[in-house]
């Protein structure tokens, strides 16, 4: 029997604006603004064109905080495969072909497998997870992701006793990802987690946001979301997951090891060399707010790091 326990933070169904109304309001605003500028509005807005995902459960892990508008979530992205400016991914990610898409899982596993992502989406129970996202650059959002626990997928490939870490890789294809023609990072983008972090119920693979499949600029068709870590850990457009014995190389750690650690847990007490991490600006706010340890997920994840020096393992 499923017992639903309401948390203080839970949002009532009635409080959530129906998506159709939300979208029509957005279109109305966009139309008004464009009309004022004398521009024509493209009725086939990207968001309306994206496929709606099937039934999804709500999650007790979701926050009740106000969600960052869809426009902001999908137009302000760090995705260097499409350029270094925040607006680049939304403008340029149309060259990515997210369907069909294969996701290979191998390494220290008993049953290496290749999944077709749409098949995976069809056969996996989906959940909505409204998470805070804290970028290492001291801004944050609240994003209603759709996905499933990473642990459920890892269990299916049966990690062996040797598996200690999980390594992730983004697609490497400069034709689809023109930003890879520039050597700003070591391509393909790589990320990694310790196996116990990866198995934590908060860690998910997201396949959608705001009830629809992921827009390309947000890491279509499948990405990682680890809400207690800085955003760059949540690798996008994943093609390969490998279980390993040793700690894997990770893109930002290779690029600037003194600035970006392997763990990258959100921590207000450990500054980035060039800015303080004590506060953050939630997109849409004027005033900064205090950054919370583990991005406010300490009750759930702090025990993963008991006894660790988080200044050293930043």
């Amino acid at each position: 029997m499923l017992i639903r326990i309401r948390r203080a933070g839970d949002v009532r169904e009635s409080e959530i604006t129906p998506e159709s109304l939300y979208l029509s309001r957005r279109l109305f605003l966009a139309g008004g603004a464009a009309a004022a500028l004398g521009l024509s509005v493209n009725p086939a807005r990207a968001e309306a064109a994206l496929r709606a995902l099937g039934p999804m459960r709500k999650s007790a892990f979701s926050t009740a905080e106000e969600r960052t508008p869809y426009e902001a979530v999908t137009n302000y992205n760090n995705f260097y495969e499409f350029g270094l400016d925040k607006e680049d991914p939304a403008a340029k990610a149309h060259s990515l072909q997210p369907r069909p898409w294969s996701l290979r899982i191998d390494g220290e596993v008993a049953r290496p497998q290749t999944f077709d992502v749409d098949d995976l989406i069809a056969k996996t129970p989906l959940e909505e997870r409204i998470y805070r996202l804290r970028c290492v650059e001291a801004w944050s959002m609240v994003v209603p992701w759709v996905g499933f626990p990473l642990s459920s997928l890892l269990s299916r490939v049966e990690p062996t006793g040797k598996a200690k870490y999980v390594a992730f890789e983004t697609l490497h294809d400069p034709m689809q990802m023109p930003g890879q023609n520039k050597e700003v990072l070591e391509w393909p983008y790589r990320e990694g987690l310790r196996l116990d972090e990866a198995m934590h119920p908060l860690a998910i693979l997201a396949v959608g946001l705001y009830g629809r499949v992921l827009p390309n600029q947000n890491g279509a068709p499948i990405r990682l979301v680890v809400p207690w870590k800085y955003g760059f850990k949540s690798i996008k457009s994943i093609v390969r997951i490998r279980l390993t014995e040793r700690q894997p190389r990770t893109a930002w750690n290779v690029a600037a090891p003194d600035e970006y650690g392997f763990y990258a847990n959100v921590n207000p007490d450990v500054d980035h060399p060039r800015w303080s991490q004590a506060k953050e600006r939630r997109i849409g706010d004027f005033f900064r707010r205090d950054t919370l340890m583990f991005n406010g997920y300490g009750d759930e994840v702090a025990q993963l790091y008991s006894g660790m020096n988080l200044r050293r393992y930043f």
Binding site: A33, E71, A72, N75, Y76, Y80, L84, K86, E87, E137, W139, K182, V184, L185, A255, D271, P273, R274, W275, S276, A278, K279, R281, I283, G284, F286, F287, R288
Partner: protein, 208 residues
């Protein structure tokens, strides 16, 4: 005294980036994180105008177009003005007078220390930019003080380079231009750079 046409045109041109903000801010033209974007925007214009101000002297000397000197002060003041907007964005909009954080930033982070140093230089030069201040300081002291503009230029390029997360191409381009202008100044001083002999107007001798 009525302002001359050329200076009026220059004034309007140099004001355009600031005027554009009056349009960009209310129309979300700076995107969803306008404070961060505004910080970059004002910083970009500050360094561009600083470079332009630094270019006046070598350009005037090499070309012999002494008229260019007429524009130097105004362009320098505009560089200060955009620097002021940049610092305003940082102190007021980004940190809202959170003095503790700001002081820590200045003390701990070299790019902010340097940036503040550059701002203080530009402030000192702006305050002493009037004819009256030239008289009060005496030409020699005034000129010595105003040579700090080169230090400000180098500082601005370093500040920009250190602030960038990845891909320092753009700040390096600005840095290279500033280095070239410094070099031109040195070469001119030691008479190593050819000067175009443009016939002087009304029989005035061309500055050697």
């Amino acid at each position: 005294m009525r302002p001359s046409l050329d200076k009026t045109v220059l004034f309007i041109a140099a004001s355009l980036p600031a005027l554009a903000l009056l349009w960009l801010v209310p129309t979300d033209g700076l995107g969803v994180n306008p404070i961060r974007e505004g910080m970059h925007y004002t910083g970009d214009w500050a360094i561009r105008l600083l470079i332009l101000a630094l270019a006046i002297t070598p350009a005037a000397k090499v070309s012999g177009a002494k008229k260019l000197f007429r524009y130097r002060r105004m362009i320098g003041l505009f560089a200060f003005f955009y620097g002021l907007l940049h610092v305003f964005t940082y102190v007021v909009l980004d940190h809202f007078f959170d003095v503790e954080t700001i002081i820590k930033d200045i003390a701990k982070r070299p790019f902010i220390t340097i940036g503040m140093g550059v701002f203080l230089i530009l402030l000192a030069l702006a305050v002493t930019s009037t004819h009256q201040m030239v008289r009060r300081l005496g030409a020699r002291r005034w000129q010595a003080l105003h040579r700090l503009v080169y230090l400000a230029g180098v500082g601005a390029a370093v500040h920009f380079t250190l602030s960038v997360k990845k891909d320092i191409t753009e700040p390096l381009i600005y840095g290279a231009i500033i280095a070239a202008l410094l070099l031109a100044r040195l070469l001119l001083r030691y008479e190593l750079l050819p000067r175009l002999k443009i016939p002087a107007v009304r029989g005035e001798p061309v500055e050697p």
